[in-house]
Assembly symmetry: C2
Homo-oligomer: 520 residues x 2
């Protein structure tokens, strides 16, 4: 596993073939190996909304935009999806607000069925807001312009994104004459971090946050850097010790094979790579990407989040890897396993490792500026090749790529993380940190209650923000109950709020008339 590769571990994938500009050769992203389709609104009939745009300030924390022009625009159009107001208890009814993450908001809205499903139980208005520099919410008029340089990317930061959401909420409530509406935030993964941080930073704007699979502690030295890969490794070991061992052994074997005469050609064939490999590293990156993502999407039912996959996909991967009935080589068994991830539908006849469509991945920038999340692979416990994280390496790499300096301690300075339970025991309230322990990001999550109202909900068998996904008929009981617990907590926030402002809310009183599809 190369350092370049580790740099690029992002939560979700945001590589849509929107524009084609020359790709930077560095850094490579897991995202490029995801062949999922561009989101379309045809999928989202279940969720009724209007697409709207809000004229957003590019820089909330300085007035430089007013004076420099900055390519002619100190504002940009932020897209948001405004759910139907038909059943919204206006004025004063709740607003359920999803903090967009690093990708197209339509796609996130489709994969966050929980919010849509529970909103009717609260007569709540649903809003999905897109994160700046993703999807259609592009400064400077186009993705090409926004991603053209470090200068144009400069305002892609988390604090600016939070200020976008704050500004949008205030404006939305004012325009809908519903200033008393309590706002509950939702977010999964990076968006879960944003939701938690926003509740901490803007308690006057949002009354609570459900932060799902939010690794807000994956910074500095708060958690051991090897946690992520240990969890992925354990996900495999749990299904099959021999599968874990095969993978752990495979790196050296593949490396050695690549050095043989015609080795790269052989590996190219074994792994159905479209273009002959130039080096083994590209292949190994492609393989270990699959494992990490499998850890994230190891859902108990068939899903199509990052890729179309069967239920319990790691079990399925390991079933293939453990199957040596035909006298398969280790390389062939590894291929059979990762093929489950990359080609479960069987649509691909070969794989293109160079298909980064445009090299304009915003997370790449964020990982080179603020989002310095140390990840390492410890040979004692990990099935991945050994790797030590180093701030200096990251600094060097990012300087080469963007000519910016990383700010490795900024996130913990701005948002905290160290000694979080002491800090927040008597400060802050109304946050649910939900985590599934199969999810490698849970290692950086908050796994213990901090106070009476800063709650950790932990699902031993959950993967990456499974609670936010649309309900299915195959949802296990624990998941149904997990969501019900979240709903009850959110209800208590709303109830407290309405009591505090002295308004009797018809919203909450007729909750029993509605049943969300998330309960069976």
């Amino acid at each position: 596993m190369s350092s370049l590769h580790l740099l690029s571990l992002l939560f979700l994938l945001s590589s849509f073939p929107v524009l084609t500009t020359p790709s930077p050769t560095y850094p490579q992203f897991l995202g490029r190996f995801s062949h999922r389709k561009k989101p379309t609104q045809t999928n989202s009939n279940a969720y009724s909304y209007e697409t709207r745009y809000y004229t957003q300030q590019l820089d909330h924390f300085s007035f430089i935009g007013d004076t420099l022009g900055l390519g002619g625009d100190s504002h940009f159009q932020q897209r948001y999806l405004l759910g139907s107001t038909d059943k919204w208890a206006r004025p004063g009814g709740p607003i359920f607000f999803y903090c967009g993450n690093e990708g197209d908001i339509v796609w996130f809205s489709e994969n966050t069925g929980f919010v849509w499903e529970i909103a009717p139980r609260f007569n709540a208005l649903v809003v999905f807001a897109e994160h700046r520099y993703y999807g259609e919410s592009m400064p400077y008029g186009s993705k090409e312009a926004a991603y053209s340089s470090a200068k144009s990317l400069a305002h892609l930061t988390s604090a600016q994104a939070l200020a976008d959401y704050a500004t949008l909420i205030v404006d939305l409530k004012r325009n809908m004459s519903s200033q008393d509406s309590p706002v509950v935030l939702f977010g999964g993964s990076y968006a879960g971090m944003l939701a938690a941080w926003m509740r901490l930073k803007y308690p006057h704007i949002v009354i609570g946050a459900l932060a799902s699979s939010a690794p807000i502690l994956q910074f500095d030295d708060i958690v051991p850097a090897d946690t992520f890969y240990n969890i992925v490794s354990n996900d495999f070991k749990r299904e099959s010790e021999s599968c874990f061992n095969s993978i752990k052994k495979s790196w050296d074997v593949l490396e050695a094979e690549g050095k043989d005469q015609n080795g790269l050609l052989k590996l190219t064939k074994t792994f159905r790579i479209c273009h002959t490999l130039n080096n083994t590293g590209d292949l190994l990156d492609w393989i270990d990407s699959a494992y990490s993502y499998l850890g994230m999407v190891d859902y108990p039912y068939p899903s199509d989040f990052l890729m179309p996959l069967p239920a319990n996909p790691i079990k399925e991967v390991c079933r293939h890897m453990d199957d040596d009935s035909d006298g398969k080589t280790l390389a062939e068994r590894i291929y059979a396993g990762v093929n489950v991830y990359y080609n479960y539908t069987g649509n691909y006849t070969c794989f293109d490792l160079d298909d980064d469509p445009h090299g304009m991945n915003g997370w790449q920038w964020q990982a080179c500026t603020e989002m310095i999340m140390p990840l390492a692979s410890n040979p004692e416990s990990s099935m991945f090749p050994p790797y030590d994280f180093s701030f200096a390496d990251r600094e060097y790499e990012c300087h080469m790529t963007y000519n910016v300096s990383i700010r490795p301690h900024w996130i913990t300075t701005e948002f905290g993380g160290h000694n979080i339970s002491t800090v927040l025991k008597k400060f802050g309230s109304n946050i649910i940190f939900s985590n599934g322990l199969l999810d490698p990001w849970s290692g950086g999550g908050v796994l213990q209650n901090i106070s009476e109202s800063i709650i950790a909900l932990v699902a031993p068998l959950g993967a990456h923000h499974i609670d936010l996904r649309p309900s299915t008929d195959e949802d296990p009981d624990w998941l149904v109950n997990f969501r019900e617990a979240e709903i009850n907590i959110i209800e208590s926030w709303l109830s407290d709020y309405y009591h505090a402002i002295g308004t009797f809310s018809s919203v909450l009183s007729d909750r029993s008339d509605h049943t969300g599809t998330s309960s069976r």
Copy 2:
């Protein structure tokens, strides 16, 4: 009272003759009428410190500085005063950190004796940090460069200043190997706002804040706009009803006199103005500035904060205004009153209304961007000329001056203020809001307890952050007790903190060995 004039009401004065550039003709500042001396370290022998400089990020919330150069520097030198570490209980001993406000930090440190005086009781390290764009903490290498344009001033914002303090504290603790040190913030006036906001935004960095005379509610429509001038008016009425009435009547009388033949010349003579008046407005601004500042510094003992003044200066002003023994005209009596404020020492033979030494007042910029604090004068209750506040006027004026757009709702979006007691009842902790009711800024202060640990301390006879001033032999008992209450609360924060982290603090155990000079 002109709209231009009201725009410029700032807490404190920061017009040091540092550099001379052409003054903008607009807006005028109360500050220019303050003849107080440039701060010198000769005054501060009582407080032992080193002057240090920290290389500070110009823009914490974007990476534009890295890419644009921005005049060649994305960093600047932030000055801070580091108190003696001789008696600091290192490692882990408390740090008392003053959030600098809109002026030279040496001057603030001299006028904030409370922090110096109580630090030994806690074996605490004292730090006074200067606010960016004030004193010596100038981006772009000099005040002239920093104040040369709206572009260079763009990063003079409150959120950037808070991030400066956060970054400085984190770095300071790391460099002194004292990461466990609890940090308590202090601030008066604008700095009090910063202290309160910082405790809310950075609870992981500071354990509590004493926010003295911090009008964090003086934004939007949270408090009535006429509160400030009503309080000043009542300060005068309380001393003398006839004094109040004289002042209230005087505006029309002086206006009329100015229109008489040779009227401006007569007024010039009556008021000892050095250069013949061009219009009556300048004179009226000069006069009403005195009243507002007198409301702020109406201390019960002789002081030299904004100007050298006797004890209870409003009483003294009114004594002169009410004295018509020599058959003085109203104008002469008004002069006799304001002369107490402007010339108590008798050093001036005439007053220069155009002595704005450089027109580079940072608060002027802040009042044209974020710090939109509506102030109005209501003829029903105010002794000042009637005046309505208007966002549109402010926008127009600031656009003319700086070519920037005001962000009138930004402060409440970023920091809150509306429904503060509901919002913070179960969120946040460890803030003291102290206010004196003689202080006109108390109208925008938090005057009621919000929770068990967000406390309002109110001194009916206190003026602008009197609690933070150096103790004197003339301190009334209520003031001694008031400070003692603050000390006890701060002690409880520290005690809670040390218990929470499980460290027994020798600091707190030997408190009884020390007696601060603030107790008698």
